[in-house]
């Protein structure tokens, strides 16, 4: 008779033996009544574990989870949209600034010719124009942000 395989029986019932060990167990069980009886006990326990009733998932929990997820996904989508919108607006602002410089140069040159007198440094005029533009945009962003925060505060 082969050596007893008691140590392997639990894992055999769990289907967790490699092929060599599984073959060893099968060969041994054919000739050892004690191990065969113990193997039956382990099999019964394994079957009992497989047949355990599944705990009931409350439909309300599933519904709440789905709602929370949809809200999170919507928020994520909104954040992605906001990031894209911000990137677009920044790109547009730089484009306008560059195009504005060309136009400003053209218009200021024409103006100086018509007035027949110097109108000062073009770069200084343009820097003032840009600064005023950015300050106005910044103030608008702050005001819009505050308004959005107030609206969020009212809805919570």
């Amino acid at each position: 008779m082969n050596a007893h395989v008691t140590e392997l029986l639990a894992l055999a019932a769990a289907g967790a033996l490699d092929r060599a060990d599984a073959e060893r167990v099968v060969a041994h069980l054919g000739e050892c009544a004690a191990c065969a009886a113990r193997a039956d006990e382990w099999r019964e326990l394994a079957d009992a574990l497989r047949r355990l009733p599944a705990p009931r998932l409350e439909p309300a929990l599933a519904a709440r989870t789905r709602e929370a997820l949809e809200a999170a996904l919507a928020e994520r989508a909104e954040r992605a949209f906001n990031r894209a919108a911000l990137a677009f607006v920044v790109g547009l602002a730089w484009t306008l600034a560059i195009v504005g410089w060309l136009l400003f140069d053209l218009v200021a040159g024409e103006l100086a010719l018509r007035l027949a007198r110097p109108i000062g440094s073009l770069a200084a005029w343009y820097a003032s124009y840009l600064l005023a533009g950015w300050l106005a945009a910044g103030a608008a962003a702050v005001l819009l942000g505050r308004r959005a925060q107030e609206q969020e505060g009212r809805t919570v």
């Binding site: 894992l11 004690a34 009886a37 929990l61 789905r66 999170a72 996904l73």
Partner: protein, 183 residues
């Protein structure tokens, strides 16, 4: 698995119908896993919600060439273990507990003859969270041993050893009352 892959791809695109499909197929098993691991329904419900929120946030990290359930369980496991650590509910691994009571097939046979689902469930509930986890993953979720090892984040032999110890401890719990009543 194909359905999981398609739903995960939908969810990556922000389409919530993908989420509905994934939840429909896996929510029952996920909840059972969490309940077995945490042993407390209200905590399991919290972690269940957190798990799905985390899944929605990290769905791009899911490798669609692999089954979805082990990945889902890994996400849930990390959250549940954090929760257990925070709550300090229990020692995660009862290494000092005797593995099994004195052997002998008679009391075990008697115990098994009386066993019912409720009895096995009660014995299971008396185990440590990590023992409950390995048993529910193998027997209820029917994860193959390599998937089990991946989910637990341990090498295959370690997963096997954990499964063995958990089974022996469960057997010990089932035998304990019977042994106590035996003259």
């Amino acid at each position: 698995m194909e359905a999981d892959r398609e739903d995960a791809a939908r969810l990556c695109r922000g389409d919530t119908s993908g989420l509905a499909g994934l939840m429909e197929r896996h929510q029952g098993r996920l909840f059972r896993y969490l309940l077995r691991l945490l042993g407390d329904r209200s905590v399991a419900e919290d972690v269940f919600q957190q798990t799905w929120l985390t899944v929605a946030g990290r769905i791009r990290r899911y490798d669609a060439s692999r089954p979805f359930l082990p990945w889902l369980v890994t996400v849930a496991r990390n959250l549940a273990l954090d929760q257990l650590r925070r709550r300090q509910l229990d020692s995660l691994d009862e290494a000092d507990e005797p593995v099994a009571p004195p052997s002998g097939s008679d009391p075990f046979e008697r115990a098994l003859a009386r066993q019912s689902a409720a009895r096995v469930e009660a014995a299971l509930a008396a185990l440590s969270p990590l023992d409950r986890e390995v048993l529910t993953l193998r027997f209820e979720d029917e994860l193959a041993l390599p998937e089990l090892a991946t989910t637990l984040g341990v090498p295959l032999p370690t997963a096997k050893a954990r499964l063995y110890r958990a089974l022996e401890r469960l057997r010990g719990k089932l035998l304990a009352p019977a042994a106590g009543r035996t003259p």
